[in-house]
Amino acid sequence: MTTTDRTTTTPAPTDGSADGPTTITCREAMRAAIAAAITADDRVFVMGEDVGRYGGCFAVTAGLLDRFGERRIRDTPLSESGFVGAGVGAAIGGLLPIVEIMTVNFSLLALDQIMNTAATFRHMSGGQIGVPLVIRTTTGGGRQLAAQHSHSLDGWFAHIPGIKVVTPSTADDFRWMLGRALDDPDPVLIFEHGALYGVSGPVSASDPEIDNETALVRRTGSDITIVTYGGTLPPSLVAAERLAGDGIDVEVVDLRSLRPLDDATIMSSVARTHRVVIVDEGWRSGGISAEISSRIVEQAFYELDAAPVRVCTAEVPLPYPSHLEQAALPNVDRIITATRGALESDDGP
């Protein structure tokens, strides 16, 4: 996909409030969410690399240090395992930390604390000790940041019981998912696709109160379902629009949450359209698309008119040159081709 293939707006909130939505970028939406959370609850604080003085690597927390001070916007050394583990301890101790990990690849340095501590403590303690921690991290490719800053490991993390994985794709979700994650008594990882920060969209004036774990139909259609989330929602919607020009009516389901997965919404869409394309930016082998495909086959086998089709990232570490990177990532053309293929295919049960 080329950068211009990204839509410059995200879909409208499903439930506009009386005050009417305002249009802001996903970056501004997350910043507003953080500021509101800090203002509302004195247990909330942000901790991470360069979140304060620098203003955040992706400028999400820009200006917040001046507003809230060093105790609420806490710069950390480059110690991912140390400060994520400190976030776990602070959460157990009664605070509500929002830990920012600059990019998802750096989260691997904190994997011990995420997997062995945050995800296990409630269980190992027989339900006594929960970890109400929120971790935000930037994910995804498309920005020529090469093979150590571009990956989509959302599906990996979704493999782990004990944590929750959410993936905002609209400005409204960037604005309102954080507060719900902070209300959750268990660890929630928020994966923010880097290409979305500059994308604008309408944001509800108050919480539309759609829980984080419900998938939403972003576009209704009757011929085929595209199941996607996060950074691949915008190209999926563009593909759907283009296919509409050819008389193909595509439904687009935004998962919003990878753990738990909202099986009911997926199956109900498949039951209407009988064909499905799953789009995600992870690698194909063992990815979240494989899980979704498997669930559809398990739960809606007799609804299918064709085998589920996956559009994923080519199985290479992401290369630096733009043409190679774009060839590796899911894009509008690949989604259109896959969708047409699924419609032409008649090999279903």
Partner: protein, 323 residues
Amino acid sequence: MTDIANELDLLRRMVLIRRFEERCAQLYQQSEIHGFLHLYIGEEAVAVGVMDAIGPDDGVVATYREHGHALMKGVPAGAVMAEMFGRVDGCSGGRGGSMHLFDAHHRFYGGNAIVGGGLPLAVGLALADVERGRSAVTACFFGEGAVAEGEFHEAMNLAALWSLPVLFCCENNLYAMGTALTRSQADTDLTTRAETYGMPATAVDGMDVMAVAAAAHAAVAAMRTDVGPRFLELRTYRFRAHSMYDPELYRNKDEVAEWRERDPIGLLVQHLRSDGRLDEGTLETIEKAVRDEVDEAVEFGMRSPSEPVEDLLRHVYAEETTS
């Protein structure tokens, strides 16, 4: 600064840990306890001495060799034993086992089987105490093997940088499983590590319970008035194998015998006897009381039911939510 407990009381506590674990070893051989079982025998003076300075409002983070620490933090012996058996009345509801003892009420935060994994957690617990205006300290126990982990350095630096009340207790028993300290550290003086982070560090004879208690009381008293972490290196020795599967090929019997001569219980008994403060009758009374407590704990654990299999998926998320 609270007073150090009466020496007879410290003796009773060490004997409790020793006899409790001897019974665990027996029960393990009888296949009543499974999984990994790491015995603390030989190191009792460390947990007893340090925990004497730790109050009920203070937090504790320990390792997978933590039976003694749990008992000293006030977790009932019956609940610890029931956990060994994996029963519902265990202090972790049976889900954790020997390596994962937890008790939220007593602020006992495990039971961590990832070497070094508990240190960042302790930093966070101390941060929460400071931010919420509580005067508690967090005692964090780890072996000398953890000093080689990145998490040790990250956590030590964070605690010092943010002036957090963490008492880092390095239980130096000379072997990280089977790897001797001399084979894993370029500089075997561990207090110098702590000093590079700007925190006061003291090396203590970990076989002398009074010395450990004195150092811990002094450190905790300082931390309650003067912010910032402290580091204690407690020089001790594990008399038994690393776990129940260890043929001990990495150390020789003479070395073990030499250290056994400095058994922390034996040393204290000898000291109290020479002062005329311990006669056979008193020692027998202590042993009898401990025996009764351990018997009762075993009985409690054995009587406790197993969790029904229908509950398998519980305790992954808070009960009101589902996945």
